[in-house]
Subunit: 140 residues, 2 copies
């Protein structure tokens, strides 16, 4: 489905700015924060303002095509809400990776009378790469 169709399908008028922010979220191989999105698109949209990035992300979040990722650095990062997944944040290099998906917990049984809208899972630890580096240093 082309980008404008995705936006329209969620009740968002596909302005050029919105399309480009959406496209960036879709193709960027990371979990960008507001400033990263702003910096990345500034060259192509010279009049872009940070407020617009905030506005657009709030809109995307509200319309459920993006969601805020809660991380320890206390700065919102965003990714597309398309496929539910967990996040792994390395405490050494600070990189964030997607984790395929958690098995579905039987939340409705745990909390029968609550309406569950979203589940965020953040796993933290040390990533493969950092572990390898540490091991290499120790043995040298």
């Amino acid at each position: 489905m082309p980008n404008d169709a995705v936006l329209k399908a969620h009740g968002i008028k596909p302005s050029l700015t919105r399309m480009m922010i959406f496209e960036y979220l879709k193709t960027a191989q990371k979990h960008p924060n507001v400033d990263e999105i702003y910096q990345a698109l500034q060259s192509r949209i010279p009049t872009l303002s940070k407020t617009t990035v905030y506005n657009t992300l709030h809109l995307f979040t509200e319309k459920s095509i993006a969601r805020a990722v809660m991380l320890k650095d206390q700065e919102n990062r965003y990714d597309l809400a398309a496929h539910p997944h967990a996040h792994f944040q390395c405490l050494h290099c600070n990189e964030v990776f997607d984790v395929a998906m958690m098995p579905d917990f039987d939340l409705n049984q745990l909390m029968p009378n609550h309406e569950i809208q979203d589940v965020s899972v953040l796993i933290s630890g040390v990533c493969e790469t950092c572990k390898a580096k540490e091991a290499a240093q120790k043995s040298s």
Copy 2:
């Protein structure tokens, strides 16, 4: 185990201030943020500074007797790390509840070469009370 013993066991010198912040975290039936802790203890520790609260919570987090709860309001809240549990935040009244515990995912199988230190689960939706209120309003 008395509070000072808990602190000592984690390598923290049990100063009066630290004991009182620990005690507050233990007994408060909520997930206080820094300001709430500060306000609550100010009457008993008149010279208390907010920086001290920040310092102490960082220390507690580092020594693993407390942990930062990641919530959508973008303001750190803390609870004791004692028994692992998930959090439920109501999107209407903003209240936060503990959820017994998630079944343990087989994370090590999902991410074989990573070292997992912590898993945070945040569930959001509408709580029992808010749902009941809504239902009552509709039927009136």
